[in-house]
Symmetry: C2
Subunit: 323 residues, 2 copies
């Protein structure tokens, strides 16, 4: 088994083109590989200015179907009701999360929120991702693949790290998002910058009013235990560099330490000129495949030994302002 | 193969004791499981006070043999020469590193520094860790183990996630540190809070005068490409919450943004009363094994679905002030 694996890796490395850095691959991606993020999928969070008086704006992308849509519907409802205006960031725990919402826990929620269920933390894995894994498993474990095509072999060899995830049978980027899979189900994973929904004990699954973002090493043990609803696509430094809370779980002990949230709005509700215009690199393109492969095998000048693999959270989906 | 793996996992889950949170396991560890960190292995970095006037002290543990000892000898020499006093933190890159040293790049180094070599990024893996992996591989891939002992089988099943690392054939905690291994070599890994040595292009391996710590998701692609020399054991929030630099690679553009380093001292050079007294939980104890297993299988009240595995960087070695 190991010998086959190594042989496949050697095959993959044979016809070495001039090595490109991941950033160069992104820069060279054709315009058609970039997907506009719809204004209804973007949230703009305006924090009160910091000590220096500078503006602090955080832009969040909400996940597309089939992920977490009941919470995301609620988040749109909450944003349209201006529910977060005047709430605050209340918790900053080092190497873990920044959390915001109503510190008083008394503010009433708007009407019309959907009920949510922990059953939605996972969903059936799409047949194409199951198929990609099946082929990879075949290559890795049976020591043979059903194709004799050399290019196909190389492609499979480059995919093998996706079968070496410590939390799941495999991982895949799917429609722009990092996901993990077991035998038949998939779920979005907690990487740096991802947004999740605070909740009480099971069966509570949270409404979407209490949110957090990851500011440390991916807390993947939360996967399938909490709804993941989006990611920060701009301005995460305004959250990740906040002073850490000194209370239990990183909550601010003094209410004065809380960071006021001026507003959270859907971009679709902002005047045209104030909307952030963002794009992500389609994960179903050759550009993304080359980028992921370069992340897993760094060969630019600084690197001596390419890793031969990557943690899915170390292959962040490229995001940019629309040119 | 997969069926065997699942059967092993089921066996491991069968005689369920009352689930304990990782923090409870640490709290219950006997005193003998905690190892004092020698004052010669601790660095105390004093930063200029922040805007609020509060003290900012960061405590760093240097790695023991067999890891990175030529750089660590240099770091002790630099500390004894008070070389870092008056230097600064010059780079803060979000989800990556905080880096410090001589911003002028002109300060001459003390005499007596050892030469360093990139060959030392890796070292031969100890036979006991190779053996642990061999047993795990046997269980995972051959569908049989050489023991019929049920307790031994359960122990192996709990270890299997260590063979599912995307960057290496296996991972192990070894003498208090997270490491990874290929067929015959091992190396320390870049987890959150780990300290590495800045360098130029190969074959330069850095002297140890320019250091960084990880403040984001583990940049494991740096493993085997840079020397890892230690970790922050107290006060990382003074580094991770610094304003991000806006220059290339997160360097501060305005020299006034740099954070002055008042001093860096070995604890052994401080007066007895000023020395931090720290301990780490021995990774070669039943307490640590139970803690790692609980991190990989969270069953405390908040969790619905235990992950069944963990990224080695998500199993940080417990550190405490000596009681």
């Amino acid at each position: 088994m190991l010998i086959t694996l190594l042989a496949l890796q050697a095959a993959a490395q044979a016809p070495a083109p001039a090595p490109k850095a991941p950033s160069e691959i992104i820069a060279a991606a054709p315009a058609a590989d970039w997907i506009d993020i719809a204004p209804d999928d973007l949230l703009v969070m305006q924090l009160a200015p910091g000590a220096s008086g500078k503006e602090r704006r955080v832009v969040i992308q909400l996940m597309p179907p089939p992920f977490s849509q009941s919470w995301i519907a609620n988040i749109r409802t909450l944003a349209k009701a201006h529910w977060w205006d005047g709430t605050s960031i209340n918790r900053v725990q080092d190497n873990y999360v920044v959390q915001w919402g109503d510190a008083t826990e008394k503010k009433s929620l708007p009407t019309g929120l959907a009920s949510t269920s922990e059953k939605e933390y996972q969903l059936p894995a799409p047949s194409e991702t199951i198929e990609a894994r099946r082929k990879g498993l075949e290559a890795q474990f049976q020591g043979s693949v059903s194709t004799k095509d050399k290019a196909e072999l190389e492609k499979l060899a480059k995919r093998l790290w996706r079968l070496r995830d410590p939390y799941a049978l495999s991982v895949e980027h799917f429609r722009g998002w990092p996901t993990a899979m077991n035998q038949a189900d998939m779920w979005p994973v907690h990487c740096y910058g991802m947004i999740g929904v605070g909740r009480g004990l099971s069966p509570d699954a949270g409404s979407g009013a209490e949110l957090y973002t990851v500011i440390g090493h991916a807390p993947r043990h939360l996967d399938r235990n909490i709804a993941v609803v989006g990611r920060v696509v701009e301005g995460i430094e305004h959250l990740s560099s906040l002073p850490r809370g000194t209370g239990a779980l990183g909550f601010y002990e003094d209410p004065k330490q809380r960071v006021p949230i001026v507003s959270i709005r859907l971009a679709s509700e902002l005047p045209e000129g104030e909307r952030p215009r963002m794009q992500y690199l389609s994960t179903e393109t050759a550009s993304f495949a080359a980028y992921a492969d370069a992340r897993a095998n760094r060969k630019d000048a600084f690197f001596n030994i390419p890793a031969g693999g990557a943690d899915i959270c170390n292959v962040p989906v490229p995001i940019r302002r629309k040119l």
